[in-house]
C-alpha cells in the first residue's frame, strides 16, 4: 500500500474519533450545575415567611462574610435528614449566616417543620410558586448554595448535605 497524505489523514482521523469515544466512556453523563460555581448571584427579593413586610435582598448578603442559602420544604424527606447539619452550623459558627427558603410549601407546615426540628435560619423566606429557586439555579430540593460577601458562589450542594460536604463547608469558611 502506498503511503499517501489522504490515507494518513483518514487513519489519523479514525484514531482520533475512536479515542474520543473511548474517553467519552469514562466521563460522567449526568448533568449537574456544579460548573456554575464561581459565578455571581443576581438580584433577588424574598419576603419573610411569616411577615410580608420583612424582606431580604442581595444587598443584605454583602454584609455577611459567608451566607448559606438552603432551599427546603416540609414535604421533602431528605430535608429532614440534612437538617441537623444546618443546626450544627448555626450553633457553632458565627462566620456564616444561614438563610432558609421554603419552596412550594404551606406556611403552617413550614412553621411546624421548624418547630419540630429546630430553626437554624437567620431568615426564613417564602418561595410558594418556586420562581425564586430558578433565579438561584436550583433544580431539586434540597439544594444549598454557599456565597461570600462579594456574592460569588463558592459551593453548590445538590441534594441533602452529608458529613463530607458539611466538613467541606467548615473548611471553606475558615
Amino acid at each position: 500500500m502506498k503511503i499517501s497524505i489522504p490515507k494518513i489523514i483518514i487513519f489519523s482521523f479514525t484514531i482520533f474519533l475512536l479515542s474520543v469515544f473511548w474517553l467519552g466512556l469514562k466521563i460522567n453523563h449526568n448533568y449537574d450545575t456544579k460548573s456554575l460555581v464561581g459565578s455571581k448571584i443576581s438580584k433577588f427579593y424574598v419576603t419573610e415567611i411569616n411577615n410580608e413586610n420583612q424582606y431580604i435582598s442581595e444587598e443584605d448578603l454583602k454584609k455577611n462574610k459567608y451566607t448559606l442559602i438552603n432551599f427546603f420544604a416540609s414535604w421533602c424527606s431528605p430535608c429532614r435528614v440534612e437538617h441537623r447539619y444546618l443546626m450544627s452550623l448555626s450553633n457553632q459558627n458565627k462566620e456564616i449566616k444561614i438563610i432558609g427558603i421554603n419552596f412550594k410549601d404551606k406556611k403552617i407546615n413550614a412553621n411546624n417543620f421548624l418547630k419540630d426540628l429546630g430553626n437554624p435560619y437567620d431568615f426564613v423566606g417564602e418561595d410558594t410558586d418556586g420562581k425564586i429557586s430558578i433565579s438561584f439555579g436550583i433544580y431539586g430540593i434540597p439544594e444549598s448554595i454557599l456565597v461570600n460577601n462579594e456574592l460569588i458562589v463558592i459551593k453548590k450542594i445538590i441534594g441533602p448535605i452529608n458529613q463530607v460536604q458539611f466538613n467541606d463547608i467548615l473548611k471553606s469558611i475558615q
Binding site: 448533568y31 450545575t33 460548573s35 456554575l36 459565578s39 443576581s42 412550594k104 410558586d129 418556586g130 420562581k131 429557586s133 430558578i134 433565579s135 438561584f136 439555579g137 433544580y139 431539586g140
Partner: protein
Amino acid sequence: MKKNFSFLIIYFLFLGPLSSSDNKTELSEIYKNLRCLVCQGQSIADSNSDFAATVKLVVQDQFNEGKTKDEIYNFLISKYGEWIVYQPTFSKSNLLLWTLPYFIFIMGGVFIFLIIRKSKNNKAN
C-alpha cells in the same frame, strides 16, 4: 389550462378546514427549546415534572414583561449552564458545529464539479 384549474380546485377544497390564525405561539417554541434538567431527554414543553412547571412560570413572567427569546435563554443559561438550551449558542466553541456540515456540503459540490470537468476533458481528448 383546464387541467391546471381542476388541480387548483381540488387543492382548495382539501385545504378548506385549515384554521387561519397564527397558532404556534412563541412561548411554546421557547418551552420546546429548553431542556428539563431532571428528566431523561425531555424538553420543558413535554415534561410533567415539577421543575418544568416552575421554569414555565418564570419564562411566562419574563415573556409577559416583554423580554425577548434570547434574553430569556441567556438568563437561564447564566443560572443553569448552556446545557439547558437545545439550540447550541453561536459561540466560538460551537463554531465547528455550525460550520462543518456546510463546509462538507461545499466540498461535496466541489468534488462533483471536478468529476464532471474531468469527464469533459476526457471527452475532449
